[in-house]
């Protein structure tokens, strides 16, 4: 099922959460909505689910307009950030809920419900926990119950709001791999919201970077990481150094990553600039350096520790730094275009 979002606007009082957002998601894709908190990514997800209605614009599934349709009729599976499990129902009843509320004509028999719920609990590896109450589960287990519950009604689209936000780092990584595998098995069109760039880049087929209610860039993880079209995307997807400069007579800002810096004692080929070492912090195989460019800008460098030793760099040393890859953003071009 494809999702088509066109020119969506959403205001909450004086706050404009979404400004003219358009997005297309292909059937079977796993897409990440990535952005800082308050950027509007969750609002976009809720608009697609029908939990909010837009002030303007449209949402359609497979070319069929669903803007006016209620969440109840959209057949969208929604996994809430804090899972929103029904607290007074056990795991089994939580998963069975979507089946039990169907009209009499479509509702499966009790035996079919039993079979379907157990199949889903098997899928999310919670087979033995059917009788547990939500409060007796760990965060990762609740997350998987929420997922099974959403999948029970065979949704056409799966939407996940910060699916790993409330979990600790180890569980998060495990669950991330598991979710990717599950998605590949089921092939259901999925959209998830995250503020964690690593999560978005590792998990998604395509990443949609959202900022201040607008889409900044849409692309594969490699595209948005290697060729960020706006300074915001560049800065949000990884650590960034910025240098003000002029390129072809126009004022511009140059961005480059700390780990894309080549250091040397003598002048280098390419875009090298002189800098002074202010601090060296070396641990394990990498060393992090704080440099000061000639114009006073602070520059972070992340180089192999071996390089620091071979150049015998210490605070006060004069070096040349050359970014292997850099992005040029002209100041007279408005960001976001």
């Amino acid at each position: 099922m494809s999702i088509e979002v066109q020119k969506l606007w959403k205001r909450f009082g004086d706050f404009t959460a979404l400004r003219d957002v358009s997005l297309h998601v292909e059937p079977g894709e796993l897409v990440a909505l990535l952005g800082p908190s308050g950027s509007g990514k969750t609002t976009l997800l809720r608009l697609i689910a029908g939990l909010e209605y837009p002030d303007a614009g449209s949402v359609s599934f497979d070319g069929e307009d669903a803007t006016e349709r209620s969440a109840r009729d959209r057949r969208v599976g929604f996994v809430f950030q804090h899972y929103a499990l029904f607290r007074h129902m056990n795991v089994f009843e939580n998963v069975a809920f979507g089946l039990r509320v169907q009209d009499r004509a479509r509702r499966p028999s009790e035996a079919q419900i039993q079979a379907r719920v157990h199949e889903l609990l098997d899928l999310v590896q919670l087979e033995g926990l059917a009788r547990r109450m939500p409060t007796q589960l760990s965060g990762g287990q609740r997350q998987r119950v929420a997922l099974a519950r959403a999948l029970a009604v065979q949704p056409r689209v799966l939407l996940l709001d910060e699916p790993f936000g409330a979990l600790d780092a180890r569980v998060r990584r495990e669950l991330r791999r598991w979710l990717r595998k599950l998605h590949d098995e089921l092939g259901i069109t999925s959209l998830f919201v995250t503020h964690d760039q690593e999560e978005a880049l590792e998990l998604a087929d395509r990443v949609v970077v959202v900022n201040e209610g607008r889409i900044e860039q849409v692309g594969t993880p490699d595209e948005v990481y290697r060729r960020p079209t706006t300074p915001f995307v560049f800065g949000f997807l990884g650590e960034a150094n910025w240098l003000a400069t002029t390129v072809e007579g126009r004022k511009a800002t140059v961005g480059f990553r700390p780990d894309d810096l080549e250091l040397s004692l003598g002048p280098l080929e390419g875009h090298a600039f002189p800098a002074r070492v202010r601090r060296v912090h070396s641990f394990g195989p990498r060393a992090k350096l704080e440099l000061v460019a000639a114009n006073g800008d602070a520059i972070q460098a992340d180089v192999p520790a071996e390089r620091v030793r071979s150049l015998s760099l210490s605070p006060g040393a004069e070096v040349y730094a050359a970014p292997r890859e850099l992005q040029v953003y002209f100041d007279d071009v408005q960001s976001g275009t």
């Binding site: 689910a49 029908g50 939990l51 209620s70 969440a71 109840r72 009729d73 959209r74 057949r75 969208v76 599976g77 929604f78 809430f80 804090h82 929103a84 499990l85 029904f86 607290r87 007074h88 809920f97 979507g98 509320v101 169907q102 409060t135 519950r149 959403a150 029970a152 009604v153």
Partner: protein, 293 residues
């Protein structure tokens, strides 16, 4: 240095054999405070309760039974049950509706509504009764119209129901608003996105989640509805056997120097209070159980 350090524990253990927590009061002060609290409790709560029962039984069990089974007393008990039977469900529904509106929607005048809900607690019950007399009494705003259509509200059962419902309006809403605010609407949104209708969502998700809080509100609401005196006294007209509730009946008996009978009927309200206290404790315990993660 070493010698001094070694001496310190010896010195303290000699002067204070038992370790005392920083915030613990001296034993004498503690005993005094507890005695004051318990004495106060006995004097103002326990003693009156005991007095009600001893006075009620002072003329013997036979007189006690006669006072309760007297036809006029029976009528008062029945009226009290009828009034509570209407006010309690009505306010349970109003309370859920108000709590729902306040916690789930944003609308102009919401903060005014929140403060208005407390109005019945803020004004004297006598004033609450007078409001209804001024509205529906013979000289009231709707008086002529009601008279013309032969509808009796004041000095009749509808007036008592109205006054009681007004007085007890806040109980359920007050209980549910913070509860529903804390629970949020995510579970309800989840129910809708899973295909539930509005009614299915309410019955299967909302109601079970607020069940204990709702019962708690209803228990307190019921106690007040049955025990209300001031507002009911103003609108009732004190017609024996017709518009007297239990509290009004107790007052009439007492004014007629039938104090044993008055206390006998009063024991019914005292028993209601005891049952209410027990129910309240049980529900509070359930609420704590449910809120534990």
């Amino acid at each position: 240095m070493i010698a001094a350090a070694a001496q310190i524990p010896v010195a303290t253990s000699a002067s204070a054999p038992r370790v005392r927590a920083a915030l613990q009061d001296p034993p004498l002060l503690r005993a005094g405070l507890i005695a004051v609290a318990l004495g106060f409790l006995a004097l103002f709560l326990l003693l009156p309760l005991v007095a009600v029962f001893t006075e009620a039984l002072s003329a013997g069990l036979g007189a006690y039974w006669a006072a309760i089974s007297d036809p006029i007393a029976r009528a008062a008990i029945e009226l009290t049950l009828v009034v509570a039977g209407i006010s309690v469900p009505a306010n349970a529904v109003f309370g859920i509706a108000a709590a729902w509106a306040i916690t789930r929607f944003d609308f102009p005048g919401k903060s005014i509504l929140v403060s208005l809900i407390d109005l019945p607690f803020a004004v004297s019950p006598v004033i609450s009764g007078l409001i209804f007399v001024l509205l529906f009494g013979a000289q009231g705003v709707f008086g002529p119209w009601l008279l013309a259509h032969d509808v009796k509200i004041i000095f009749a059962v509808p007036g008592i129901v109205l006054a009681t419902t007004f007085i007890t309006f806040p109980f359920v809403a007050r209980e549910l608003i913070p509860l529903m605010e804390e629970q949020g609407s995510e579970e309800e949104e989840a129910a809708i996105s899973l295909g539930a209708s509005g009614w299915q969502m309410f019955r299967r998700v909302t109601l079970p989640n607020i069940r204990v809080g709702l019962l708690y509100g209803i228990v307190l609401l019921n106690a007040r509805a049955m025990g209300e005196f001031g507002a009911v006294s103003v609108v009732s007209g004190h017609i024996r056997g017709l518009t007297n509730t239990i509290p009004l009946h107790v007052e009439i008996l007492y004014n007629e120097y039938q104090s044993a009978a008055a206390f006998a009927v009063a024991t019914l309200l005292a028993l209601l209070a005891l049952v209410t206290l027990v129910a309240k404790r049980v529900l509070e315990w359930r609420i704590r159980q449910e809120s534990q993660p």
